[in-house]
């Protein structure tokens, strides 16, 4: 029974992780860079949502389409301005992009601190716990898990069944081949970063309902997202789903048997273990 509870918790927690990571995964898949500002976008939108809700008493879900569109535009613009100039630099591009997004993350975090303060905030909308078949199920986790699944599903459909999505997927797997099909690879990079930012923004609106966020600890989210992406095989979004679930399950189990302190370190330990033992991650894509 305990085991079942742990599994359920783990799966739902995994859903949360997947929600966190898909934006980062998309960017890495198409552009080959790790966006260190990912967590800062999530956190900024999250604390902004808190402020918005407490000021206006409107539903946070109203914000979702708005931040999605805004993040799309801003993300596209930032990619054009800051990252596209680096695209022609060959293999130094990865580290230099890391530096640029590193700097960007601080700009966003500090802006958030100046606007909204640096304390932990969260919205109490989803704190109920249901009891189903003898299992305790946390409402927030369910929402996150379900939304994580829905978003991944939408991504899957978009990437595999629509023309624009297939173009993006093709670019992520072989940009030269994509060019021969008339795909504007530069635009693809812009689109992927825009969508990645938009996904992060949505994650921000949802996460503030689930856990407390604070601007100064934004990079914790970046690292968690990166752990999923790395475990899943860097760009392989199906692998990311697996990785999210794995992490959720492991953390749930470790938390129960070994205590909350060890539980917190699990993501980082798993990351280092995987990077050393199986760098290509859980997905089939070996980069």
């Amino acid at each position: 029974m305990i085991v079942l509870q742990l599994v359920v918790n783990g799966v739902l927690l995994g859903g949360t992780y997947i929600l966190l990571a898909q934006g980062l995964n998309l960017v890495f898949g198409v552009m080959g860079i790790v966006n260190l500002a990912h967590g800062s976008i999530i956190t900024f939108v999250g604390v902004f949502t808190y402020w918005f809700v407490t000021q206006t008493n409107l539903s946070p879900l109203l914000l979702m389409p708005i931040v999605f569109v805004l993040a799309l535009g801003l993300g596209g613009a930032l990619q054009r301005l800051l990252l596209e100039p680096l695209a022609k630099l060959g293999n130094r591009r990865e580290l230099l992009s890391l530096m640029v997004t590193f700097g960007l993350s601080y700009v966003i975090v500090e802006t958030a601190i100046n606007c909204f303060g640096s304390q932990y905030v969260s919205l109490p909308n989803l704190q109920a716990t249901w009891t189903v078949a003898g299992l305790a199920i946390n409402e927030a986790l369910v929402v996150a898990g379900v939304l994580g699944a829905v978003i991944s599903g939408c991504l899957h459909v978009w990437l595999h069944y629509t023309a624009s999505g297939k173009a993006l997927l093709a670019t992520s797997q072989n940009s030269t081949g994509a060019v021969t099909c008339g795909i504007d690879v530069r635009r693809m990079r812009g689109i992927s970063f825009a969508i990645g930012s938009a996904l992060a923004a949505i994650a921000g609106v949802l996460l503030i309902l689930i856990l407390p966020l604070s601007a100064p600890t934004a990079d914790t989210l970046t690292i968690l997202a990166f752990v999923i992406v790395a475990l899943g095989g860097l760009g392989d979004y199906k692998g990311a789903v697996l990785a999210g679930l794995l992490l959720g399950l492991v953390q749930s189990g470790v938390g129960y048997y070994l205590g909350g302190d060890v539980e917190v370190v699990v993501p980082y330990l798993l990351l280092i273990a995987f990077m050393v033992l199986r760098p290509q991650g859980l997905g089939q894509a070996a980069r």
């Binding site: 173009a167 997927l169 093709a170 081949g177 060019v179 021969t180 099909c181 008339g182 795909i183």
Partner: protein, 245 residues
Amino acid sequence: MSAPATSPDAADALRVEGLVAGFGEITILHDVSLAVPAGKVTVLLGANGAGKTTLLRAITGLVTPRSGRVALFGEEIAGREPHLIARAGIGHVPSGRELFPRMPVSAHLDLGGRLCPPGERAALRERVLALFPAIAERLHQAAGTLSGGEQQMVAIARALMTNPRLLLLDEPSAGLAPKVVLSVFEALGKLQHQGMSVLLAEQSMTFGLSVASRAYIIREGRIVLSGTPAELMAERSVVQAYLGA
């Protein structure tokens, strides 16, 4: 055997004049000129490092030429972005094939087909699959799991789906067993019968000349010889220049 010169035929699918290209401070192509007559297969022969791939990439825009002109059916395309050159009607089958390893064969055809007018897509797809029956059976298989020969066919099929006016193939026989190469070249022969203009870069002289109506030999970034296959085969010096280049 003629000195390298461009044919004055106005119906040239491709005319390259004085093309100079390279990377950074290095120049790889030195004043290259050639012409691909419409509806015919032209082969570009040369050893490793002679500049075949660079020339093809300079034509398709993956490498930006420093000077010179490239005209596709009279339309000037030098200096354009590579995806726009693809849209202008050049189908490029790059060396190394550059497939999408985790996408199925059908997706490759769909992606190429983006450049084909929607009304003609279905008919084109049928024609392309008729040309390569081996891959017609594997439409849902991921490209990364196919054999070398099948991958080459998918690469050509993808390029054909872009409904090109000119097809560029970069060493389609590389790394393939002779029997497989034969089937690829059979398909090329059929294409030629259908009137497709083709520029083929090859290391293997015998295969290259078997389908060509005109051949150029490139060495150290320069066109050194050109002529018909018969003319070139008759000259032993060609073999030497080729092996030793």
